[in-house]
């Protein structure tokens, strides 16, 4: 039924070809996925991610809250890093429908990715290392390569 090929734990992409099992296109700048807290808890559990936001219990997925993965490129070395954070309005921001701006933002927690993050303030994780971690924790039997 699905054009299913075997999971490649190296996540290699042949030159000039679209990455199998990826979302969007190579020129997509924002991939927005909306689901439920069960999905967020599950993904965080797979990568052993923890967070804590003011007013919430640890690892809580507030309504509207999001796990954010930024792909960033160093302008000096060209290296790609992944910067993870968890962002959610506080309970009172939700209750009061508080306008959000860069100066009055929602609560935000930088997230350390075990086995990958470095010890800077944003816990940046080199992309190559994240791929290695991912290939260890992802079960190839539970994954397809549909785009």
């Amino acid at each position: 039924m699905w054009p299913r090929t075997s999971f490649d734990p190296s996540f290699r992409q042949p030159p000039g070809e679209v990455m199998t099992g990826a979302l969007g296109t190579p020129s997509t700048k924002a991939v927005v996925l909306i689901a439920s807290d069960v999905n967020l808890c599950g993904l965080a559990g797979l990568f052993q991610l923890d967070w804590l936001l003011p007013g919430y219990q640890p690892d809580f997925c507030g309504p509207g809250g999001a796990l954010v993965l930024q792909l960033r490129q160093s302008q000096t070395t060209g290296e790609y890093v992944v910067r993870a954070s968890y962002i959610a309005q506080t309970l009172d921001q939700l209750r009061n429908q508080t306008p959000l701006t860069l100066d009055a933002p929602p609560a935000s927690a930088p997230v350390f990715i075990p086995g990958c993050s470095v010890d800077n303030a944003t816990f940046d994780c080199p992309l190559g290392r994240l791929v290695r971690i991912a290939s260890q924790v992802i079960d190839p039997e539970s994954v397809d390569l549909v785009n």
């Binding site: 052993q48 923890d50 967070w51 804590l52 936001l53 003011p54 007013g55 919430y56 219990q57 640890p58 968890y86 609560a107 935000s108 927690a109 930088p110 997230v111 350390f112 990715i113 075990p114 086995g115 993050s117 470095v118 010890d119 800077n120 303030a121 816990f123 260890q136």
Partner: protein, 443 residues
């Protein structure tokens, strides 16, 4: 509703044949590793130091003659009795399993006892041995201070290298870089702690901090580099842990209830307060980076000892010898929490919070062999006396055992009732989790 009922009924019918088809246990116990925490002890701080945090004097723990024990972190007579009771339970179980024979002197040759080198812990190991093999003298393997045992304090022993900046980042990155947010997440536990220490009803408006006292619940929770036994300094959270540390010991040692949290605490509310202490241990020892650095050497020795027991030949980095049947390792809750963190093990026991390493309690790894296929499996459980069994020094038998939780090993355990984990698969999981730079091959 009806639809759900039929779904449930269909599920039950589908499971019926499966449950009936579960094979009976044809495995034989070949070797057991009992990795336990020290027994009930006196508080880690002096009563004089603790009195800075409370309006009432902390109670005394008594020696066998009824005289107050002045030493900190020393085993109490009741703690030693509890430990011997637990050793006695393992004697009964291992005799039933055919590992012990009743000839203690002969059996002692197949028992390896290793303890971290603090007097509390070596005394615990000796009390355990008295229960396990009462008619024999079991050799105790322990380093002599100031040498550090690389199994239990690998960083101080120089076997594992701890990057303190990475330790701070790994903990900070679990807390959104804002550890002070823990005070709202744990507001109820902190409020209860304050009410006990300052002797007021938990329901009333909190009074101001009494003059001359430190309110540990108001000390900011911060994160900074720690030292080679407490890798991250957590500010107020460490102060809270120091102040509440005596409560579980007061209860389990059997002090009069009027002296347990000055009459304000029960087993249940001690558990609630101890969520703060458990949090400290979780951050210091279960954080992935810290578990890898601090527990890899112990994990490596445990796995290698199990392999040695299965192949029957000496193995580098294993403990004891291939013919050893019982390996008893005694250390601290920090070690048990760390090892559990490395392997992502969880358990839940009556009267305790999740994943608590109780006084005397032990993580137990059984090396078993199938009598039909020859396959070796590892069966893991967590065994500990309940808080009331400790408090009442309850005699333990096979019919009246301590609390026992079978433990699932992620990535390895099968779906049977005891979560058996094939030895080869366990080695595979361990080799992914253990940091080779934090382990040695010393036997």
């Amino acid at each position: 509703m009806t639809n759900h009922f039929f779904r449930f009924a269909a599920l039950a019918l589908a499971c019926g044949p499966f449950l009936a088809a579960q094979p009976s246990d044809d495995t034989l116990l070949k070797q057991v590793i009992i990795f336990g925490r020290h027994a009930v002890r006196t508080p880690a701080s002096t009563n004089a130091a603790l009195f800075n945090f409370s309006v009432q004097q902390f109670p005394n723990f008594l020696d066998a003659s009824g005289v107050p024990i002045t030493g900190t972190s020393v085993i109490t007579p009741n703690g030693a009795t509890d430990e011997t009771l637990l050793g006695g339970y393992f004697r009964l179980w291992l005799t039933q399993e055919g590992i012990l024979t009743g000839n203690d002197t002969a059996d002692a040759n197949f028992v390896y006892l290793r303890a971290d080198d603090l007097p509390l812990i070596t005394d615990t190991a000796q009390a355990f041995a008295v229960g396990l093999l009462p008619a024999a003298t079991v050799t105790l393997n322990a380093y002599t201070p100031p040498a550090n045992d690389p199994l239990f304090v690998p960083v101080a022993a120089g076997v594992a290298l701890l990057d303190y900046d990475m330790a701070v980042a790994a903990v900070n990155g679990r807390l959104g870089g804002n550890p002070q947010s823990l005070t709202s997440a744990y507001a109820a536990e902190l409020a209860l702690t304050r009410s006990v220490l300052f002797s007021y009803s938990a329901g009333q408006t909190p009074p101001p901090t009494p003059s001359g006292k430190v309110d540990v619940t108001a000390v900011p929770i911060t994160i900074a580099a720690g030292n080679n036994t407490l890798p991250v300094s957590l500010g107020g959270l460490a102060d809270v842990a120091e102040a509440i540390d005596p409560f579980v010991m007061e209860y389990t040692d059997g002090l009069p209830l009027a002296e347990v949290g000055w009459g304000q605490l029960t087993a249940g509310s001690i558990g609630q307060i101890f969520r703060l202490y458990d949090l400290l241990l979780n951050l210091e020892y279960r954080t992935t980076y810290l578990a890898r650095v601090q527990s890899s050497n112990l994990a490596s020795h445990i796995v290698r000892s199990l392999v040695q027991g299965a192949i029957g030949n000496p193995m580098p980095g294993a403990l004891a010898t291939p013919s050893t049947k019982v390996i008893a390792l005694i250390a601290a809750n920090t070690n048990i929490v760390g090892l559990a963190g490395l392997f992502h093990l969880d358990w839940l026991m009556p009267s305790y919070q999740p994943d608590v390493a109780a006084p005397s309690g032990a993580l137990v790894f059984e090396l078993r062999q199938s009598q039909s296929t020859g396959e070796y499996i590892v069966r893991t459980s967590y065994v500990a006396q309940t808080m009331d069994q400790l408090r009442n020094q309850t005699a333990l038998t096979l019919d009246q055992p301590p609390a026992i939780a079978p433990v699932f090993i992620p990535g390895c355990s099968g779906a049977n009732a005891t979560f058996d984990c094939p030895l080869g698969k366990f080695v595979g999981v361990a080799s992914q989790l253990i940091d080779p730079h934090s382990a040695d091959l010393v036997n």
